[in-house]
């Protein structure tokens, strides 16, 4: 599940004042506590009277209203519910110098017969694959049409060819006009909370122009940054409502009683939900469908409402980005903006800031806008040329052989880091033990890579290209030039064969195929060991061993080996017998002194070679399916009580969000068959995977043994090459 945005201070304060507890995940909505049911009073016999005429009328009216409301809600629900969808996204994120796969879920609404689905940006952010479940439970894949982080809106498009009946028209919901909403109006939140099947909750509108500010006298607009620092609150005044929304509801519709979509639910805190108004969401969605992006412009100005400034009109310019369009035109922080293109304005309260910012963002890039400001009692007019507003954050990629992740620098990122330009690629993470970390000096998070080898790196794309050129077999150490907080460093990154290796082999030693427990004197005295005071009681004779071929049996107490006593003095001596045996030669015949039913007897046994333990087992790591398997050891077999005819490989690790994980494989599964290939061991598994790599089937059937049951799992790998250089 996705959390949405971090919680503004003002909201935290509000909740503290209200005595509400915050859920751990800040804005991840939590189920409301169930109220204790009110007891229904029992009628007292003899006191039951007939209702008066007035009471009867009231009852009838209430019943009528209830029926009417039920009808209205039912009709509204039926207009949107068929177009309500559940969205599942395979996401790829970058952290600690490597790529991490995972899943996120959310909700959405079909808004066009062509299969366009409106949802939140934060639902599809970092998405690699998109799957949409329709109201009739069909799951189809979808593509990303466009996303607008600044309003947290995104549009997907269904792959209509995957529908059972592509000719059947899609159910489509229609947008309403959120500007007509009033406080107190009924609204319904629809979606798939916790990715469960679709649901509806009912509430009323609590506020139609909710914005978030710093709180406690700080009335600057909160920019509402999402997890990774992306701003999402510059242009939005949310519809606050109390229709319950939970994680998974993100992107789902807020619906009025007319069955129109009046908002897109974005976040929830306790009993409060916040939806992007349809007037904004619809416009953004239409731009995304038409252009794949929302085109906005930028003047580099921030505003503070004048309510606490002592000013009577205008709006205070609280910041003017140096060398931004406004600054270049002559506007400075501290100026009071009085008019735009000659039209006077006053922004007294923080709720009025988003419309102002939206108005300026709507100025077409390249066009001039006239800004009249008051400064030191005089008025000045500056003509600023609007520039395109770039995204806050750049794309990311993982560079496995170096052990780093890097990100395209945007203007905002460069400004925030006080970099002179956007040249280079920002290092966002370094994998522990990787060549980048082992370099001297090491590359660290926050470095900007300026050159690799003898070539400059202008941007992330250039870094990807260089990566392809200088890595691979027989790669040579490569020189990196980096900027670290204004200092120019160079370092040498030496490629290493860093992928998974088999664990070291243990030197085989002599072994007797039994498990034992130490018998200390007190316990031994109860077991009638005769003259022996201590020993090792056999708790299991392993099948298919030399010991199993001897007369050793569970309950026997081993008191000597070749006449030498084995006498544990404490529980720490549990390994005494095994250690004594390990000091002897493999294949050597020995005589065990054994007490059985109070009788001493000699049991000859041939020492055999120690068996491989699970820690020593050979591994195989498959990067296509993103899973690791290992060979089955003697001890795995014994623990699971598998006979010799049970063969396979054990799944040791499944990457969350990887194809094996998405297909339902779990650590501990014994893979018996894959795509029709019987798996007898690691070599069979490796051969099967190599064969699949050649044939690249759409679907791979894997038969596993889990506990005592077999399971058939279906994996649907993406054989297409990845766009990032991750290996």
């Amino acid at each position: 599940m996705r959390s949405t945005a971090r919680l503004p201070l003002a909201l935290v304060c509000l909740l503290v004042v209200l005595g509400l507890s915050l859920p751990l995940a800040a804005v991840g909505a939590q189920p409301a506590a169930e109220p204790a049911p009110e007891p229904i009073p029992e009628p007292i016999p003899g006191l039951v009277t007939s209702p008066t005429a007035a009471e009867s009328i009231a009852d009838e009216t209430a019943a009528g209203l209830r029926d009417d409301l039920r009808q209205v809600i039912g009709a509204a629900r039926d207009r949107v519910f068929p177009a309500l969808v559940s969205i599942r996204v395979v996401v790829v994120r970058y952290a600690q110098g490597k790529e991490w796969k995972g899943q996120s879920v959310g909700s959405g609404t079909i808004v066009s017969p062509e299969g366009h689905v409106v949802t939140n940006f934060h639902v599809v952010d970092h998405g690699e694959k998109f799957f949409v479940t329709l109201s009739d439970k069909q799951e189809v894949s979808a593509k990303l049409v466009g996303e607008d982080p600044l309003t947290d809106v995104a549009v997907l498009q269904l792959d209509l060819s995957e529908l059972r009946d592509p000719k059947q028209p899609l159910p489509v919901a229609t947008f309403g006009d959120s500007s007509h909403l009033q406080i107190g109006d009924y609204v319904m939140a629809m979606g798939s909370p916790f990715s469960l099947s679709r649901s509806v909750s009912l509430g009323i509108v609590s506020n139609t122009e909710r914005v978030f500010a710093g709180g406690f006298g700080d009335d600057e607009l909160d920019e509402m940054e999402l997890q990774d620092g992306q701003r999402s609150g510059l242009f939005t005044r949310w519809i606050q409502h109390d229709a319950l929304i939970l994680p998974g509801n993100s992107g789902g519709p807020l619906v009025d009683l007319g069955g129109r979509v009046v908002g897109v639910n974005q976040l929830g805190v306790g009993p409060m939900g916040f939806a992007i108004p349809s007037t904004l969401a619809q416009r953004v969605a239409e731009e995304l469908i038409a252009h794949g992006e929302v085109r906005r412009s930028w003047l580099g100005l921030s505003f503070k409402p004048i309510a606490r400034t002592g000013l009577d009109e205008g709006v205070l310019i609280s910041s003017a980005v140096v060398d931004g369009p406004g600054h270049r035109a002559g506007v400075r922080a501290g100026d009071v903006l009085m008019a735009i293109d000659g039209e006077p304005l006053t922004v007294r309260f923080v709720e009025e800031v988003p419309p102002l910012q939206a108005r300026l963002a709507d100025v077409p890039a390249g066009e001039s806008v006239s800004l009249t400001v008051a400064r030191d009692g005089e008025r000045h007019t500056f003509d600023a040329v609007a520039e395109p507003l770039e995204r806050d954050l750049g794309d990311e990629a993982s560079f496995h052989a170096w052990g780093i992740t890097a990100q395209q620098l945007t203007s905002k990122m460069a400004r925030d880091r006080r970099l002179a330009s956007t040249a280079g690629a920002l290092v966002t993470g370094v994998r522990s033990g990787s060549p980048a970390q082992l370099a001297e000096p090491a590359i660290v998070e926050g470095d900007v890579i300026l050159a690799v080898g003898d070539r400059e790196v202008a941007d992330l794309e250039a870094l990807v290209e260089r990566y392809g050129q200088v890595t691979g077999d027989d790669a040579e150490p490569v020189l990196f030039e980096i900027d670290r907080q204004g200092k120019n460093h160079v370092t040498l990154v030496e490629p290493r064969d860093g992928d998974a290796v088999d664990p070291p082999r243990e030197l085989p030693k002599a072994w007797i195929g039994v498990a034992t427990q130490p018998l200390l004197p007190e316990l031994a005295a109860r077991l009638a060991l005769g003259d022996a005071e201590r020993g090792f009681r056999v708790t299991r004779v392993y099948p298919r061993t030399e010991a199993a071929g001897s007369t050793l049996a569970v309950g026997d107490v081993i008191v000597s080996v070749d006449g030498e006593p084995v006498e544990p003095s404490s529980m720490q001596d549990s390994g005494l017998l095994a250690r004594r045996v390990r000091g002897m030669a493999i294949g050597e015949p020995v005589v065990l002194g054994v007490v059985r039913d109070g009788e001493r007897l000699d049991v000859p046994v041939t020492l055999e070679r120690t068996r491989i333990t699970p820690e020593e087992a050979r591994r195989y790591n498959d990067t296509d399916f993103e899973l690791a398997v290992r060979e089955v050891t003697f001890f795995d077999r014994d623990e699971a009580r598998w006979d010799d005819d049970v063969e396979g490989v054990l799944v040791e690790r499944v990457e969350p969000g990887g194809w094996a994980g998405l297909g339902g494989l779990r650590p501990g599964d014994l893979v018996l068959r894959i795509a029709g290939h019987e798996v007898g061991g690691l070599s069979d598994f490796r051969e099967a995977m190599e064969s699949l790599d050649e044939t690249q089937p759409e679907r791979v059937e894997v038969v596993v043994l889990r506990g005592v049951k077999t399971y058939f799992q279906y994996l649907e790998p993406d054989w297409a090459p990845t766009v990032t250089p991750e290996e």
Partner: protein
């Protein structure tokens, strides 16, 4: 009475594990790389001057420092259940035992302590540490060679590492077959290198053998901790090898209930003091184990 929650036990276990792990890591701190050899220094086979021979603190660094090699590696640490995978850079000092490029190391130094740590944390075999990208810094030129961990003997805390492509280089090596016996009351000496802050100077540490024990196997017990890292040879004053400084810790089978209850373990932890300083595995046992390893994995032990 309410059943106690599981968390405190886990926390206590973790704290205990970390405390002991810290102790282990301090004890097992790797030795630094060797410096470029001083041309004036005598090779391993050279005879020290009479004055130097009389003073092992002078003679041993001259005659025995060049058999020490540095193993550099990356430990791939995994805890599958917790989804943890981390690479950690490591370094250990080992001793060259074959001039064609076979070195003997402490298994603990090459990540073996993670097995114990895993048991202490209740992770068991789920916590693994596998050395990769192994290299040996060795030879007169202090060159870095790709290397391979051939096999290990966890019981004896031994690991055999071979150089993969030595070219024409022949390495100074120590012959554990030409060994001396030592017993209670005898002085033993160890050569180690200091940190590069001190120019990686070779220095001698010494201790008196305070006992010989036979359990879990025959070992010499120094009167006080002698090493700053395991896998280092121990000598007599005249430079004859006595054995190898190793760490002997309980194996999984020795810990029937040692780590089940942290309070029990805290009591038992005091017993670790006899272990963490290191003990001397006699040279004869080193030779036996090496012979067995070479016989068992003859093909992998082939040296160019």
């Amino acid at each position: 009475m309410p059943r106690p929650r599981r968390l405190p036990l886990a926390v206590a276990r973790l704290v205990t594990a970390l405390a002991v792990a810290t102790a282990l890591l301090v004890v097992a701190a790797p030795l630094p790389a060797q410096p470029t050899p001083d041309p004036a220094a005598a090779p391993a086979a050279a005879t020290p001057s009479a004055a130097a021979a009389a003073n092992p603190y002078v003679s041993l660094p001259q005659t025995r420092a060049d058999v020490l090699v540095t193993a550099r590696f990356v430990l791939q640490v995994k805890m599958e259940g917790a989804g943890v995978e981390q690479d950690v850079e490591g370094e250990a000092t080992c001793v060259m035992i074959d001039p064609r490029g076979l070195a003997l190391c402490s298994n603990i130094e090459l990540g073996g302590y993670f097995g114990l740590l895993g048991r202490m944390m209740g992770a068991g075999g789920d916590l693994t540490a596998t050395p990769k990208s192994l290299r040996l810094v060795a030879g007169p030129a202090e060159k870095e060679y790709e290397a391979q961990l051939v096999t290990r003997d966890s019981d004896r805390d031994l690991a055999w590492v071979k150089v993969l492509d030595r070219g024409e280089t022949t390495f100074p090596a120590l012959d554990f077959g030409a060994a001396a016996e030592a017993g209670a009351g005898d002085m033993i000496y160890l050569v180690r290198r200091m940190d590069d802050f001190f120019g990686e100077a070779a220095v001698v540490r010494s201790a008196r053998v305070t006992a010989t024990v036979t359990k879990p196997r025959r070992l010499l017990i120094p009167e006080e901790p002698i090493g700053a890292g395991f896998g280092l040879p121990v000598y007599t004053a005249d430079g004859r090898v006595v054995g190898l400084l190793v760490l002997q810790m309980p194996g999984e089978e020795d810990q029937a209930d040692l780590f089940e209850n942290p309070l029990t373990f805290l009591g038992q932890a005091a017993r670790l003091q006899d272990m963490v300083g290191g003990v001397v595995l006699p040279a004869a046992d080193v030779v036996r184990a090496t012979t067995l390893a070479r016989e068992t994995f003859a093909e992998d032990f082939e040296l160019e």
